[in-house]
């Protein structure tokens, strides 16, 4: 179990050593949240489905069918190039922004934070529509390029692997920025240490962004697993807001952990050891010393996960019920129904609300001396 909590907090073996029981409980909780959908997927992939979608005899035929599919190889290669390419792009942009914001005195650099936070709250579908309008085959950029070069065909094609990498990379760059900014900020103690920390931060961020794609749970698959779990859970959880919350907790836990981790790393064990030496009991040391130091990281983590969660679509498509409609899914419906005007209007209102919310949040955090980001 310690190994599991170690996996959840890979950089904090000290915490595991210091609070074995607490870490075990945390590990069990994390496992309980993550394992059911994983087990469901493993089980479903190894069993036949009958007409009602129920499980029949066990089989390897699903895997055989996938491997026999002639598009499997190219699809896999495409997905990997897509994930690696977009993560790399997000990282380059995010790192450049983080460097500008934290290591230079560029004017208005604080705007980067606001812009990133806002962009995290913009639902994906709006993002994609906007890029299509701008860089699509019939968009102004292509029209300009065609005029410049006097060609009949558009130069940029967003419906290509390169186009997908570009849009996805742009989509994730605010996340990369927000994850990297503290790394750049806290690395001014010594140069060589700075280089190491930056390097480690870059690698960790790259890994996080890459892993958060196809490689763990595609959101739609996670949604399907949760549909199955909730509908079988009895009681009245299926279709409720609570079910959406539980699914989102599991889906966004990795991001939250990565964010909170930054806070944890910064707390030196000496502080707590000093408290213990001065006679404080461990629990008291944790509550009085560690927790207050963790609060800014936890608060910023909350805002961060909140913004990611409110724009989720595919995770929630299969889970929303009659009384738990959420804005992101409503936006997706508008897109699917060709109601672009309504989409833009609701999207604008939503983005405005998210902006006001985030700015108020940041101002309040600053007021109480919590350097949230």
């Amino acid at each position: 179990m310690t190994a599991l909590s170690g996996a959840v907090f890979p950089h904090s073996p000290a915490l595991v050593r210091r609070y074995p029981l607490r870490m075990v409980i945390l590990g069990v909780l994390a496992g309980a949240a993550i394992l059911p959908p994983f087990l469901f997927l493993a089980y479903a992939s190894l069993h036949q489905l009958d007409a009602s979608g129920g499980f029949g005899a066990s089989t390897f035929s699903h895997f055989a069918a996938i491997f026999a599919e002639r598009t499997f190889g190219p699809t896999l290669v495409n997905s990997l190039s897509y994930a690696l390419g977009s993560a790399l792009l997000a990282l380059v942009i995010g790192a450049a922004q983080a460097w500008l914001a934290e290591r230079t005195d560029a004017p208005l650099r604080q705007l980067l934070y606001i812009a990133s936070i806002i962009s995290l709250g913009v639902p994906y579908v709006l993002y994609i529509v906007a890029w299509l309008l701008l860089l699509g085959k019939a968009g102004p950029v292509n029209a300009l390029l065609q005029q410049l070069f006097g060609s009949a065909v558009p130069h940029l094609n967003l419906n290509s692997l390169g186009g997908m990498i570009f849009v996805e990379g742009m989509l994730w760059s605010p996340l990369a920025f927000l994850l990297l900014a503290p790394v750049f900020r806290n690395s001014d103690a010594a140069f060589e240490e700075a280089a190491t920390v930056c390097g480690a931060g870059l690698v960790a961020t790259f890994r996080r962004i890459t892993m958060g794609m196809p490689l763990v749970f595609p959101a739609i698959v996670l949604g399907l697993a949760f549909l199955e779990i909730f509908v079988h859970a009895g009681g009245a959880i299926y279709g409720t807001l609570l079910s959406l919350i539980i699914a989102s907790v599991v889906a966004y836990m990795p991001y939250g952990l990565r964010y909170a981790q930054i806070g944890v790393i910064q707390i030196h064990p000496e502080l707590e050891e000093a408290a213990t030496l001065s006679g404080a009991r461990q629990t008291r040391a944790f509550v009085r010393i560690v927790l207050p130091l963790l609060v800014p990281a936890l608060v910023s983590c909350w805002l961060f996960v909140f913004l990611l969660a409110v724009r989720a679509v595919s995770l929630l498509l299969l889970l929303v019920g009659p009384e738990s409609q959420v804005v992101a899914v409503a936006l997706f419906d508008f897109w699917n129904n060709g109601q672009i005007g309504e989409l833009a209007a609701l999207g604008a209102v939503w983005t405005a609300i998210m902006t006001v919310f985030s700015v108020t949040f940041l101002l309040l955090a600053g007021r109480y001396q919590m350097p949230v980001i």
Binding site: G53, W335, N336, G338
Partner: protein, 379 residues
């Protein structure tokens, strides 16, 4: 079975014993018969009580009383919420204010996942399912039950299920659409053959979904026959048609934006609605005009059975169907006309043949259409 027959004298039964056994068996049979009769009667009673199939003169009153107690109905539909679904629910609610009508709007694939999961768990949230193309899958999964509504009697027999597992709610006509800035009037393709002209190469898009490219292929197979269809599709594949992994409506939007000159699988009312708002797009019905029906189904154990049937009644009634007219859908009710704007794509009104794909046909042909799509178009 002959217990006292000549060949089975090994058991050495005396005639008295035979009589006694016969009497005992007779008594037993009567007893079993009585029980079976009682159970049968109970079942019959149950069936006649089921609001889904009850036809007695007090049907309306029973539905109203039951719905009043249930107080709620949950509709899963793939209709566009703002334009059609909500007006219908509002109309229903205005007529029956004691029933709270709520809905979940999804595309058919998500609808199927949800109702199958609910059925497996034995816990339906859905009371009424309205969708396109799910009739056979839902029936095969043993999710729904037959129902009877006096309203469905006026619908033509070939548009509804003879066993009552589904009834039609709306029609859709599918065909091409084109961007009127990119293609001057008169230059647009006018037939399936015209689509093969190489001047359209790279300028055509379609939706890579079941209701998009697969349905187009099913339609072509249905009217050309397998051999001609295969030859035709091979030629069509040379046009490098761009697959868009979204609903058909999204493809029309891409044509409106000028990214593609043509699309092949539009719901033909979509370009009309957009053109009315000034978008440079026009519908292009190709003969024979592909048409499909959407339908309403009743789950096996809806949580609000009376309200569910009451809602189906309303949806199939003239009142309910008129709401579809306002939303630019094609009402399935033979006595309710679509809005006059839409006449330009109704095959009977413009003198074109119709290529109606019944639900069973659509489902039966899907697998081959999908493999043809994979083989010829997905490169």
């Amino acid at each position: 079975m002959n217990f006292c027959g000549d060949e089975q004298q090994k058991t050495k039964n005396s005639p008295e014993e035979c009589m006694r056994i016969a009497a005992a068996i007779g008594t037993l049979l009567m007893f079993v018969g009585a029980i079976a009769g009682g159970v049968g009667q109970a079942i019959a009673q149950n069936a006649s009580d089921n609001p889904a199939t009850y036809r007695g003169p007090d049907r309306e009153q029973r539905l109203l009383d039951g719905a009043r107690k249930e107080g709620q109905v949950t509709v899963y539909s793939s209709m566009i919420a703002d334009q059609a679904l909500r007006p219908i629910l509002d109309g229903f609610q205005a007529k029956y204010p004691f029933v709270k009508a709520q809905y979940v709007r999804d595309d058919p694939p998500q609808q199927l996942q949800k109702v199958m999961a609910e059925a497996r768990a034995g816990r339906f949230v859905v009371d009424v399912l309205e969708s396109t193309g799910l009739e056979v899958a839902v029936r095969a999964a043993n999710i729904n039950q037959p129902f009877w509504s006096p309203e469905s009697e006026v619908y033509p027999g070939d548009h509804r299920d003879p066993k009552g597992y589904w009834a039609p709610t709306r029609f859709s006509y599918l065909g091409a659409c084109y961007n009127t800035d990119l293609i001057k009037p008169g230059e647009q393709p006018k037939s399936f053959e015209d689509l093969l002209d190489l001047k359209w190469k790279g300028k055509i898009a379609w939706s890579s979904t079941v209701i998009g490219a697969m349905l187009f292929i099913t339609g072509v197979r249905n009217f050309m026959g397998e051999d001609k269809a295969l030859a035709y599709l091979r030629e069509l594949a040379k046009q490098d048609i761009a697959p868009i992994a979204s609903a058909n409506r999204v493809v029309v939007d891409r044509v409106m934006a000028g990214e593609y000159a043509l699309c092949l699988d539009a719901f033909l009312h979509h370009p009309i609605i957009s053109a009315r708002k000034g978008a440079p797009v026009a519908p292009l019905p190709l003969e024979p005009v592909l048409s499909v029906v959407s339908s309403v189904m009743l789950p096996k154990a809806p949580p609000h059975p009376h309200a569910a049937v009451l809602f189906i009644d309303y949806l199939l009634s003239k009142d309910g169907q008129q709401k579809l007219q306002g939303a630019d859908y094609f009402p399935a009710h033979p006595g309710v006309q679509a809005s006059p704007d839409l006449d330009q794509i109704v095959p009977q009104k413009i003198g074109l043949h119709e290529n109606f794909i019944a639900p069973a046909k659509m489902n039966a042909d899907l697998a081959r259409s999908r493999s043809l799509y994979q083989e010829l178009f997905a490169k």
